[in-house]
């Protein structure tokens, strides 16, 4: 899929004022968050299971070469074939070549995020194949020619009326000439239309939630049964999966299955959990004659080697985006590529580069909810901060932000300077905003106050309040914890004294003038 991540800020700005999107997201997030909380509460072992999930994930990643080879051998043993794809193009070519060789015309697809990542549909369609998505959400988006906006609920942003319109336009030529307005009718019509597509398809393509080294099986988890039909009826089954999907044994798979549905939809178990192993056996009356697995790297080996390795534990449940306030405000499309929300903000800059997608990592309040619900305990905020650090180091961050950070960093490391300055600032702002309790607009920070009010400070700094409540010797502790390199500190200091000091002096005097002016605006002119 073509990336629009560079346009993130503008897309997000458009999304936050989209009332319809706001409604859809609020409904979805409430539903997912509530159901997950409920189902987690009824399983006392859930936290232990998360810890165990992390352990399994780390073990697999630390021995990935071994498990990939074991998995491959097991697939081959059961009559399947494994293809290795280094890049998106490789994956496209492999699937296209299989389709060509078996003389396929029609392809039915189960939901697969990796196939979105490698832009498989576009590639197959451009070689003349008829490709139909069978997951209802994905089917809706295929008709709308849009990418998914959520990894497990792809059409979360679409309303019933919009879906009815899409169905009417697409199905009219098939004899469905009524515009529908109820959910059951919409689902039924899709069921009828897609039923024949399963039966006509030559090739079924599904993803894999897990690949099992022990047996060479792939597992898919669905509620609709669409993936299960896609891998049962066509004469060829192709599995697209990334290399990080492999787990050692069936037992490891069930350990992770206990986390997946609970974290994703708040179900204990989905309607269908299906293991496919090789092609149909000699006596089987149905099932595919050929079974292929396309193992995709596409940047994951670099991830494995670097500081983002932990991200490869991800089991694509979507809990992080369901619990993310930023995703909840801007929706999935703003992120501009395949993966939205916190996991997307880690993955996309890695896959597409900080230049294209660096802004994603900045759209995070570091509130930590994503990490606290991640079933595989991926430290998402830490990984996002890594991206920010790289961005800062590569001087890709906006100049104003870098400058402000350097300035703040200089002050923050000097408590003797920082405390009186912030105390003064808070007191002044507290006085100015006392009447209304908030600021509707402030000079220089329009990007904040354009879309929301800034609460007026109460007049005291956090530090003061904190210190009052705790009697720890904070000052010495804080002073010792600074660990930035001496050289860069010196550079910042030189810059600040030589270049900034004069500017600051002017700004401070000017600022004082502004304060006096504003004070007089409120309190009236001095009496003579």
């Amino acid at each position: 899929m073509e990336s629009h991540s560079h346009d993130f800020k503008r897309a997000a700005a458009r999304a936050v004022v989209d009332e319809q999107l706001k409604g859809a997201l609020a409904k979805a997030q409430d539903g997912f968050v509530g159901k997950r909380a409920q189902v987690v509460e009824t399983l006392p072992e859930f936290e232990q299971l998360r810890e165990q999930g992390k352990t399994i994930g780390d073990h697999v990643l630390a021995n990935l070469d071994y498990y990939l080879e074991r998995y491959e051998a097991a697939v081959v043993k059961h009559g399947g074939q494994v293809h290795w794809a280094e890049t998106s193009e490789d994956a496209q070519n492999i699937v296209r070549d299989i389709c060509k060789r078996v003389d396929a015309k029609r392809v039915i697809k189960g939901k697969s995020m990796i196939s979105e990542e490698v832009a498989l549909n576009e590639a197959l369609e451009s070689s003349g194949l008829d490709v139909v998505e069978s997951d209802l959400g994905e089917y809706i988006l295929q008709l709308a020619k849009e990418p998914p906006s959520h990894i497990i609920a792809p059409a979360i942003h679409k309303t019933k009326a919009q879906i009815a319109e899409l169905f009417y336009n697409a199905h009219r030529k098939l004899g469905y000439d009524k515009k529908l307005d109820s959910v059951p009718d919409l689902v039924n019509e899709a069921r009828e239309v897609l039923r024949s597509r399963y039966l006509e398809a030559d090739v079924g393509i599904t993803g894999a939630n897990f690949l099992i080294a022990e047996t060479g099986s792939n597992i898919i988890v669905t509620n609709e049964g669409n993936g299960d039909l896609s891998c049962t009826l066509p004469r060829v089954h192709i599995v697209t999966a990334s290399i990080d999907k492999v787990v050692p044994t069936l037992d490891d798979a069930s350990a992770l299955l206990r986390l997946l549905a609970r974290s994703a939809t708040g179900q204990e178990f989905t309607s269908y959990t299906t293991l496919s192993t090789g092609p149909r056996r000699a006596a089987d009356p149905d099932g595919p004659e050929e079974y292929h697995v396309v193992l995709v790297d596409n940047g994951r080996t670099e991830m494995l080697a670097g500081e983002f390795r932990e991200m490869l534990r991800c089991i694509r449940c979507g809990a992080c985006m369901n619990h993310c306030p930023v995703y909840g405000a801007i929706g999935g499309h703003s992120y501009g590529w395949v993966y939205p929300g916190p996991m997307g903000s880690v993955l996309t800059p890695h896959f597409l580069g900080l230049k294209e997608a660096g802004d994603l990592a900045n759209a995070c309040t570091l509130n930590g909810r994503c990490a606290s619900v991640c079933p595989m305990k991926i430290p998402l905020p830490d990984l996002l901060r890594e991206h920010r650090r790289h961005q800062f180091e590569a001087k890709l961050a906006p100049r104003m932000a870098s400058f402000a950070l350097a300035y703040w960093g200089f002050l923050a490391k000097r408590p003797k300077l920082y405390q009186p300055l912030t105390a003064l600032g808070m007191r002044v702002m507290g006085m100015l905003g006392r009447r209304k309790g908030r600021f509707r607009s402030l000079p220089m920070v329009g990007s904040w106050t354009d879309t929301r009010d800034l609460p007026a400070p109460q007049g005291k700094t956090f530090y003061k309040v904190w210190r009052k409540q705790r009697t720890l010797p904070v000052e010495t502790k804080m002073g010792n914890k600074v660990d930035q390199g001496k050289g860069s500190e010196l550079r910042v200091f030189a810059f600040l004294t030589i270049v900034l000091a004069p500017i600051l002096a002017v700004v401070l005097v000017g600022g004082y003038g502004l304060l006096v002016w504003m004070f007089q605006l409120i309190a009236g002119p001095p009496t003579q």
């Binding site: 959400g137 069921r191 299960d228 080996t301």
Partner: protein
């Protein structure tokens, strides 16, 4: 020239090389043979009651009868109650049952032209409320997904406690079948406005008949 496979595996090896201890290959082989003990959620009370509760949570329906001989009558009554024609496509594994006069019975797989299927189960899982079905000439997978009504017959002795118990039984078969389906309710979707709708692509009804004898 090296292949994509070799290049990917080399990169993986380079990436993991630092973290691996000597002799760990034997440990890995050992782990494949015997996975470390993993956490199993504690189940409380009767297995069958638990199975029933979880199945129904997933919108499946449950019925119990005493002996295998009662199954045809139970199937017929179920179809009558639900206003479904008494015409069933039965998995060949159940060919020996005395289906009687009331039901119109045929055996084999389906391409979608059979509204009701009746299949055996390999086992049932109390933890999740799932029935587990294995593909074979005796139990074609198409029967699990294409009919509108899917009736599954399971014996009381086949109810196991955890998912891991299914793995034990599967390994005992020696050879894993092409398809293993865990089915925990009818087909459903919430893709339109997060509204739960039963009967997306697969069966609209999943009815489990448990033989208690």
């Amino acid at each position: 020239m090296s292949t994509a496979r070799e290049r990917i595996l080399v990169r993986v090896r380079d990436a993991v090389a630092g973290g691996r201890k000597d002799g760990s290959r034997a440990e890995l082989e050992q782990r494949m043979e015997q996975a470390p003990p993993l956490i199993r959620p504690k189940l409380h009370g009767d297995l069958i009651a638990r199975f029933r509760e979880k199945l129904m949570q997933g919108s499946g329906t449950f019925e119990q009868c005493d002996t295998p001989d009662e199954v045809p009558a139970v199937v017929f009554a179920y179809l009558q109650t639900n206003g479904v024609a008494a015409k069933i496509r039965v998995a060949p594994a159940l060919q020996d049952a005395a289906w009687g006069e009331e039901l119109e019975v045929s055996y084999g797989n389906t391409r979608g032209d059979h509204p009701v299927s009746v299949t055996p189960a390999f086992c049932a899982v109390a933890e999740t409320g799932s029935v587990v079905l294995l593909s074979s000439d005796k139990s074609p997978t198409s029967l699990n997904f294409l009919p509108d009504v899917h009736i599954v017959i399971v014996d009381k002795d086949q109810v196991v406690s955890h998912i891991e118990d299914v793995w034990v039984k599967l390994r005992a078969l020696g050879e894993i079948p092409r398809t293993v389906n865990f089915i925990t309710g009818p087909s459903k979707t919430a893709d339109v406005e997060q509204t739960l709708q039963i009967g997306a692509h697969g069966p609209r009804d999943l009815h489990v008949i448990l033989i208690a004898s």
